[in-house]
Symmetry: D2
Subunit: 504 residues, 4 copies
């Protein structure tokens, strides 16, 4: 059998075929669930066909994984680190193919696709070092001739449920740390990015094979909500790391807690950029553009709200509308493209629905507000683009910060712009949404910077200064407060969440 | 007005009177809820009368507390530490009176009462040092001329809901840390220990007054489930630290998560001691006695299950039954008393119901099991003691580890004894209950010790060796896994739970 | 016998008498060395008489101290912390008397005297917390079933040699940490501040006595170079912490290293403040005044060099000369005095000699330099003040950064002022001296701040921004690079220098 | 030109030729000093010829290195980590060739040669992780609206002087950390292992070239004492890491301190193994064999003293003499060889001289001691082996712990055996030598283990239990106390020594 198009032939070099079973259970590829197609969002045509997991596949996989965990957790951590190092090298070798696949299946532009894979590679390298630093403590005891220790042991099995927008980076953040910490990993990728799930799993599994370790240490499923629920409910999975919407996240959390499991949540963001009157406007405008339009507004760290000081409001807005009009929209594989398609036709429909809401919002604001009405005016964009793919226009909306829709995360390149008068007001608006992932300020004043970072400043997990809301580095802890779920992934002491602490 | 008995007169020296309003709101004592009596468990007679909080009191208190948090979080941490140091000194001055009150109202023996207050004092001293060590990190950035920082800010208001068994130590663990971290504290003590709640609050509030700081920084309520629910639901309270049963804890957790708050749970324990064949038997028996009978079996770290190697089973059991028979039961204030009353008549009824269950359990084991039946045989104790107070006999029960009742926490001095053949079997039994707070092994073998502490060893949060299951030190992190809730209090990096992390 | 003046009578309340033996050896006060007078620098008259240590006293003290170390190091660290807490309380009770003594014997103004004692108290409080946090690490081993630990043990005896300018704070930084780390302390105070050495030792020793611990744990000698050398040579003293001149420090270091001991050096500083053109000039001028004139220029962190951007050079200078002229010189006990006497007549002579050098320097610059000559011009001050005491005028000198005398530390209120054109030039001048203790910049630009703190910025141990060169906090590590000796005292992980690391 | 023997042809694959210039200065290979031969210790014949550095070469190299440091320190640490990762990969590719070269030039057996190179590779991987974790701290300030930070900056240039016994591992420990910390490295390898110095430098330099970075970042010299002194004296080198004898180390230290530089010393060891009466004797005997005979007794962690409990003294000794007789001596490249030649003919002469001393020592003990004489009796070995190479017999000597020669490090496979009666006596003997690198105990008793690790236990930097004195892991800090110099390399917080701390 052959791939639908010749341009997909390279996929065979990263272990994919036109029809692939989508579960890696007990070291073997198989699957007995429904057959689904992987779709290219540029044209909504099939790339390849994948068979998803049945609940029987799940059970077989989890049983083997649970068994394998006894072997894996006994391996010294630095030896586990060596395996993860090899995983990094395996990905490094296929970096460009994997990046390309990300562009084709997810829809993000090629540099973003390659960048995402590189982040997994970096995580592997970071985790290698970590494998010799999962340090406990020796604490002075108040009793003579006693010793108090705090040590860390593996949890057993860690479940990782990832979303379509970062179909491999989020797996990387979790799996690299979970593995060196001595845990087996059970991964369910997004239902709409099965090829990435399979390609990554193939590369990882080959490393385990080369090291004569059970394949079940890394178990992976293509599938939907049914498999997700199975993971949430499974008492063999000590920690469930979930990335997705706040709504689903809360459900997962409750299910996991009922069985006394742990949760690590990375949920919705609703990230603001504040531009103070003393900001470097050029730098700010360029940053906002990339933060709001990058990955077609489908990042958790996408800038969705722009707060501009009134004294420079019109200047910034003019410049921004100007650069928005120059954004190159098109095939994410093409050089120079900045804005690819949304991931699915459904995403495009959500965009349309969102735009309608925005317009009606303007109206309700009119009826109920006393203050000046700044809401719901579309300054640029606002329409879908007629084509085979899921393309939409990058959109800027002038709206009141109190409008209901501003509190929600619309997963599309729609930017809400608002005006403010004082630093304090800007911070208040920034903190007024339920989500708490990322935020950023552009200013030249040390005073503002320190207030921004202090107890009365931004309440998000990532608090940037003079750089956009996106662009976290793996050395720090990634994650957010409030409705974003409170979890932290990647660097700093995030690894502690993947281990069990004993004080003795 | 006078106290019911002359022996209660000393209470006036720690700010108590025969009738006291039970809420400290906005720096003032008042209360508009139901009037309740504080009862001495030795004779079930009234010590004094307290008025509990109404929901209006709660709202008034929380409003002021929320306001006060803006002032408190701006104070430099070392200055907050200085206030906490003074709190420690204030408690140190009244150590013996407070310890005595603990004995009278909660029922624990005097040395335990004094020890509990001392623990709060130690926490204060520890927190003073911590106030200069709430360190964030400066992390190398991968971008030129960038800096990555991880800093910690106060959460705002921390709610602390404590239980009757440690009516002041648990407040101490939480409040000392919460305060130096820059948070205001809202405390709801147990409904049956209102005098302790009031006495501690008075001493604390005087320190704030002396420092010309708003009393609302430390807000405190006597009250029941209604106030507890109000705390769980209140979005102004960023973190709710709850100590109590697993059942209630899960409900609190769900309520708090729905509003995107954080939870710190210290729930039920079901702690085992394992005695290996190479143990120092004398040391082990003495340790088990104190761990199982201390605080009348009402500690979260009480030893509830005793696993004895078959080769020394009878020897240990004989010695244990022997020392149980010598336990001095009586007034907790009297010198030499080891076992005081249970806290309430209801606790005594639960004990009786538990004993009945144990006996019937034996029966059901008989019907359904194939293996050797070791269940439900009462070796010593098993009865309540006829008196005015809530006294019961310290009880040893021989039972199968698979009996359902062994999975539950019976809050009374009842010890389940079981036999095992191998180290692995003992660990398996240890880990077979839903709770995961504490556990201990007595052995002289380094191999066993290291296995016990390793990935295939005990799965509890506190893992002791050659000391009993109780006796945590404040320098380490206190808390447990699984149904115990996963929270960690007191030392190590527990303070991070009381702060908001920003990565920038 | 009575004190020379009635105003010294309060000294009897802190354990001093008109004639006191100056060694605390083996828990007893005695001394067989020369008799010396403690002199008040305000009038160069005797305050009281002290007998210094003989080498026999030293040997007796060290023998007992060495013995006592076996007992002290076995006490659990938190118990040692409790003793240090009590030391803090003992000092707190006598805060004002001690502060007054500092003013009288050392010559610093009263608020500085009280502030210095307060710093010791703060160190005690900090060390109490530290006593539960002297943490080692549990590190993952690469070998199966192995465990790698890093633990910290006491060194044994720590010698502390302090200087006259901070006659008790430096002891506090060292002794508080050394004691909680499990070390005994042997202290030699400055020969010219024996009363402070005795008063502090008395308070400390009473705490040990109350706790029924050997007095020899804290052994203290009044004495000069002979005792200093004995400490440096003594193989029973594992670590010698020396504060003083670079010249003597290097000699001590060599002696200690020859016997394989450890050294902690706090040597000369030559600290610069840079004022950029965008600085808050008013704030900067006030800061320079206090940094340069405070403690009569006898702090290790005194600002000795002022680098002003050419565009604001004259403005700043004019303002500075103006405030210098208003400095109130006089009795340090008097309210409002900013500048007390130098510590000794010899210090005053040094000042005079320095001024002469400065003038001749100007000359040599004139002869050998090609560039613009900015050297040696006295703008204000420059003379001693005729009186009984050691008073001198606060002095500002305009001089070239390349003048030889600028590389040296003149321990007096003499400030060298220089002009610069670019940030890079200012940093280069800042880094051009052998010493590397402290430095500070005044600027409003985040870019400059980050460059200042970066790899190409200031090379001193303390790098301040918009605050003066002095004013270290105990939570951080205090100390400097290059000729300042490289040691770090007080907070952060300074405690590790007082312990022996074992990896196993 | 060709290599002297065909078996050396593989050297050309790692960049070596029969005649090579021995300095890598400013990115180029050149050398103008004396020409020396690299000698194979198996037969004392030439392997190849190397030209050493002249002082002019040194100056040229250091000038370029100092310049390059400005570029290297500005690269973000994670980017530097990526370069070090590539160095690890480059070494990994040539692992077997490099290991073989180590055997041929240094004389260690092949598995040890390969193991040593592997350790450098592991260090590279570890350093990659570290490059994202060179963390400073954000410390709470006691002043309102202030922030206290502790950050780490590169030192500039780090000099590394290594010894013949670990001709590449010690470079690896230092250079990997120094490089990720942002420092350039100046390396002087041992004069007798120039080929290893050159081969490693070639691989490293190719990586810098591929990354378009100045070769001068890693500058390397073959040479002797003259170059060593130049490094010690050079004020451009902020830190000198020296590995070698205590005598030379102290001289280096003094020279470096005179110019206010920093030193990191890894000097002599004199390591003891204690075998308690409850030890696993078989395990202990095997461990002693490898620890005493491995690398022909030329490790710094070689076991030189064996302390056996009197009750098992003869049993252990008999077994040990027995296994010593079976040691296969011969060509280090041959499979099964355990003991290769000493490194140089001079080493062999030192061995002979040492044996003579040992015999005479016995005599002096006889004359001056009162206690039982156990000294100087050769139980096995004691002679050189007649051959072309530098082979000697593995030797066991029964001797008194007080004999003078026992205090010295004889760099050869000579083991001193002593008897003891109590644990305390054994520890006292262990601690009675000036050196303090490593020590080990074999026992089954937890009590002894904890005493061994406690304040009254072993005083060495590495304190092992039930494993030999050698065998450090890179995750921990390697180094020793007392005459061993106090430095720490490789893991834990060793990296801090390679950076400059700023508190602000």
């Amino acid at each position: 059998m052959e791939f639908a198009k010749q341009e997909y032939e390279f996929l065979s070099e990263i272990g994919l075929s036109p029809e692939t079973p989508g579960c890696f259970v007990n070291g073997k590829w198989k699957a007995h669930g429904p057959t689904v197609s992987s779709i290219n969002p540029v044209n909504n045509q099939k790339i390849a066909t994948v068979v998803e997991a049945s609940l029987e596949d799940y059970e077989e996989g989890m049983k083997a994984c649970s068994e394998a965990s006894k072997i894996w957790m006994e391996l010294p951590a630095p030896k586990r680190g060596e395996v993860v190092r090899q995983i990094g090298d395996a990905l490094r070798e296929k970096l460009h193919h994997l990046g390309r696949l990300l562009s084709i299946e997810m829809g993000k532009i090629l540099p973003e696709g390659i960048g995402e894979v590189q982040e997994v590679i970096d995580m592997c390298d970071f985790a290698v070092g970590l494998s010799r630093q999962l340090n406990g403590s020796v604490i002075p005891s108040e009793r003579p001739n006693h010793m108090m220790l705090e040590t860390w042991n593996p949890l057993g099995v860690v479940g990782v449920i990832t979303a379509f927008n970062f179909p491999c980076a989020v797996l990387g953040w979790n799996a690299c740390i979970a593995l060196v910490c001595g845990n087996c990993v059970v991964w369910k990728g997004a239902p709409t990015t099965p090829l990435i799930t399979i390609a990554i799993t193939k590369l990882v599994s080959e490393v385990f094979e080369r090291n004569k370790l059970p394949g079940a240490i890394f178990t992976s499923f293509c599938g939907g909500a049914e498999i997700g629920q199975a993971i949430a409910k499974d008492p063999r999975i000590s920690l469930v790391s979930f990335t997705g919407s706040t709504k689903v996240g809360l459900m997962v959390q409750q299910t996991v807690h009922q069985r006394f499991g742990k949760c690590l949540l990375e949920l919705s963001g609703n990230n603001a950029i504040i531009i103070m009157d003393d900001a470097d406007i050029k730098l700010a405008v360029r940053s906002v553009l990339f933060a709001a339009v990058g990955t077609a507004g489908q990042r958790c760290t996408t800038c969705r709200r722009l707060l501009i000081h009134e004294s420079i409001y019109q200047t910034v807005l003019d410049q921004l509308v100007d650069v928005y009009k120059q954004v190159k929209i098109g095939d994410p594989l093409e050089k120079g493209t900045l804005l690819g398609p949304l991931h699915t036709p459904e995403s495009r429909k959500n965009f349309e629905k969102g735009i309608e809401n925005i317009k009606s919002q303007a109206c309700s604001i009119f009826l109920h507000c006393i203050g000046p009405i700044l809401g719901g005016k579309i300054l640029t964009g606002g329409s879908v683009i007629e084509s085979e793919g899921n393309f939409v226009q990058p959109t800027i909306v002038e709206i009141s910060p109190t409008a209901d829709i501003v509190k929600e995360e619309l997963f599309a390149p729609v930017l809400y712009v608002m005006k403010f008068q004082t630093f304090e007001e800007a911070v208040k608006i920034n903190n007024s949404v339920p989500q708490g992932l990322s935020s950023s300020i552009f200013t030249r004043s040390p005073e503002n910077i320190f207030k921004w970072l202090g107890p009365h400043g931004s309440d998000t997990g990532i608090v940037n200064v003079n750089i956009p809301t996106n662009g976290a580095e793996i050395g720090g802890a990634f994650g957010g407060e409030k409705a974003t779920g409170g979890g932290r992934e990647a660097g700093s002491d995030s690894w502690k969440q993947y281990m069990r602490r004993s004080t003795w």
